[in-house]
Amino acid sequence: MKITVYGPSNCSNCTDLKETAEAIIDRNGIDANVTKETDMTELAAKGVMSTPGFEIDDEMVFSGTTPSEPELESIITEHV
């Protein structure tokens, strides 16, 4: 699966989210690729108004919130 975190480079919550997602994927042995999209125009194209935006396989799962690690883990494993 493909995970994209949408957020400008100076947004620390977005960077944290990407790192947490990567850790969860490693731990659960999920075959996924996590990337971060920092381009504002891409954010606009996806309709992300509040950062971070979190996308799994072209579906925007949430935006503007930072779920806790267990919450994020269940979100990701649900999509496997």
Binding site: N10, S12, N13, M40, M49, S50, M60, S63
Partner: protein, 309 residues
Amino acid sequence: MVFKQFATWVVDTIGLTGAPRASAHFFVYDTLKILAILTAVIFGVTYLRTYFPPEKIRDYLDGKTAFTGYVLAALMGIVSPFCSCSTIPIFLGMVGAGIPFGITITFLAVSPMINEAALVVLPGVVGFELTALYAVSGIAIGMTSGYSLNLLGFDRYVDDFEFGDSEVDIDEPTRRERLEEAYAEAKEIILEIIPYVIVGVGVGALIHGYLPEQLVETYLSGQWGVFGAVAVGVPMYTDILGVIPVVESLLGKGLPVGTGLAFMMSVAALSLPQFMILKKVMQKELIAAYAGTLASGILVIGLLFNIVL
């Protein structure tokens, strides 16, 4: 105030006197005061903001073309997240949703210039009257800029993109979730602002302790000082909370109030890094016109306040 006593205790303990004492006292007192206010206000506001996600406000603004729309956009600019990284996605989201162009520009202009933490810190620095004048004139400048750019047809210089509509289901969060969200956002904002506050207070402290009043009187007291303040302030980037302590100490040295306000506004509202980000979403004609209308508005306000007050 506890902080004032603490600052006095610190300089007493080190045994400072004269200018170093004045500078160190200013530094300790202002850093503590600003950070305490910042933490409390930002946490409170980020909590309240969980009730008003930008998507909701955008939908609310939709269809309000007249005066109300501009006023609402300005008010929204005041309570919008201060993190510069969040303002532009909101701006683009509004443009994409078809909110009238002038209203989105008003939001973009007011957002960095006025925010709730600045409105709480400023009265202690320049008094309630000036804080109110600052807020009212900031809103007026933002609205005028948005209105005139719209009238002149500058909306054609916003880059074309495909605007998506994020269909994220926003469940009504629980109180606990709101608190957690507010905590995460407040932490991010505060960590982003702290370096600017410390540098700002440091510069303010040096001015407070060492800058001769004579110098301010000779070079900065005339009306030309307003032009200088805007010329220096426009390219410079710092947070509004970083520039407040600098202006605070300059006012203490006899800087005219209009000049001080003009400096504060131009530093906060416009900056080179902001132009670079805007460059990605709008063409240079619009950026120049945006900067031009805001800078002229700030000049007029500064000159006017120096004459009236």
